[in-house]
Symmetry: C2
Subunit: 206 residues, 2 copies
C-alpha cells in the first residue's frame, strides 16, 4: 500500500464535496464526545482524528463554537428521533410515561451529549436563536401528546398545552440534571424517576 494513498476519514469524505466533509467531521466529533467526553473535543485532537490540519476545521465550522453548535443540534436531533420512535399506544397516559422514559434513557445513554445540549461541557458556548428553536422543536411530539391527553379528557380541559409541556419538560430535565450531578446517591432507576416526575402529570389530572 503506497504511503501517499489517502486513507483518513478526511480524505475519504473530501472527494464527496464540502457538505459530506462537514458531516464526516461531525461524526468524528460526536464519536469523540461520546467516547471520551468533552475534554477530548479539541481542535487539534479532532484534526488528528480526521487526519487533516486544523485549518480545515476552521473553514468548515468557523471556530470551535461552530462545532459546539453542530453537536448541540445533533444532540437534540437524536433526542427528537428517539422520542418520535416511541410507539403511541391507545392510552395517552402510558404514552406520556413512555416519552419520559425515552427522554431519560436518551440522556443517560449519552450523558456527554446531554451536557452539551444544556450548556455544560463546552465552556463559552451559547446557542443562537435558530439552534434553540430547533431544540424546542425536538419536543413537538411531547406537546402533541399533551394535546392528545387533554382532548382525550385525561388531563384538565382548561389547562394550557404549552404550560403542561413546559412543566413536564422542566420536571424531567430537573430530575435528570440532578441525577447526572450526583444528587441522588446510588442513582435513580426508572421507578424513582417516575415517582419524582409524576407530580408534573398528576397535577393536571381533572
Amino acid at each position: 500500500m503506497p504511503a501517499k494513498s489517502p486513507t483518513g476519514a478526511f480524505a475519504r469524505a473530501q472527494a464527496k464535496g464540502e457538505e459530506a466533509l462537514r458531516t464526516a467531521m461531525l461524526d468524528i466529533a460526536a464519536g469523540l464526545l461520546a467516547a471520551e467526553g468533552p475534554a477530548a473535543l479539541s481542535m487539534r485532537r479532532l484534526a488528528t482524528a480526521a487526519d487533516c490540519s486544523t485549518t480545515v476545521l476552521y473553514r468548515l465550522f468557523g471556530a470551535k463554537d461552530g462545532i459546539a453548535a453542530a453537536l448541540y443540534r445533533e444532540g437534540f436531533a437524536r433526542l427528537r428521533r428517539r422520542l418520535d420512535a416511541v410507539p403511541r399506544g391507545g392510552d395517552p397516559a402510558a404514552y406520556l410515561a413512555a416519552l419520559g422514559r425515552a427522554y431519560r434513557a436518551n440522556a443517560l445513554e449519552e450523558p456527554h451529549f446531554y451536557r452539551v445540549m444544556h450548556g455544560e461541557a463546552i465552556p463559552g458556548f451559547v446557542p443562537d436563536e435558530e439552534s434553540r428553536a430547533a431544540a424546542a422543536a425536538s419536543l413537538d411530539v411531547l406537546r402533541e401528546a399533551a394535546r392528545a391527553a387533554v382532548e382525550a379528557g385525561l388531563l384538565r380541559a382548561d389547562a394550557d398545552v404549552d404550560e403542561i409541556t413546559d412543566t413536564l419538560w422542566a420536571a424531567a430535565h430537573g430530575v435528570i440534571s440532578l441525577e447526572l450531578g450526583g444528587h441522588f446517591p446510588g442513582g435513580l432507576g426508572e421507578e424513582r424517576f417516575r415517582v419524582l416526575t409524576r407530580a408534573a402529570v398528576e397535577a393536571f389530572v381533572p
Copy 2:
C-alpha cells in the same frame, strides 16, 4: 510609600494564618466568578488578582479542582443562607412559594455560581461525596417546610417528605436550568415560574 510594602490581598491575609489566606483567596475567586464568569477563573488570573504566584494556590487548594470544590460549597452555602433567611409566616403554602422565589432569585442573581453548583462552568470538576452532602443539606429548610406542610394537613399525610422535597427541588431546578439555557424566550418572570412549578406542589394537595 515604599515599593516593598505588602499591599495585595494576599500579603494582607498572609499575616493572619493559612485559614484566613484560604478564605481571602476564595473571596477573590468568588468575586472574579461573579463579575466575569468562569472563564476568568484561571490559576494565573487568580494569582495576579491576589498579588502572588500560582504556587500559593497549589499549596492552599491542591489543584484547580480544589478551588472549584470550594466555590461549589460556597455557592450552596450562600443558597442555604438565602433560604434560611426566608421568613416563615404562618401559612405553610405561602412559605413554600417564598422558598421557591428565593431559590430562583439566588440562581438568577449569581448565575455563574449556579452554573458552578451544577457542574457547568468548570469543565472537569466533579464534587466529592462530602461536598454533595453539604449541597443536599442546603435544602434542609425546604425539607422542614415540606414536613410542616404535611403535618399542617396542607399536603397529603401519606406522602413521603423526601419525595416531596426532591420533587420540588427538581421542578425548581429544571425550570431555572432551562431558563438559564435560554429555552424560555424573553425570560420567565416570577409569575411564569410559579405557574411552571406549581404542579409539583399541587399534586401533593389532598
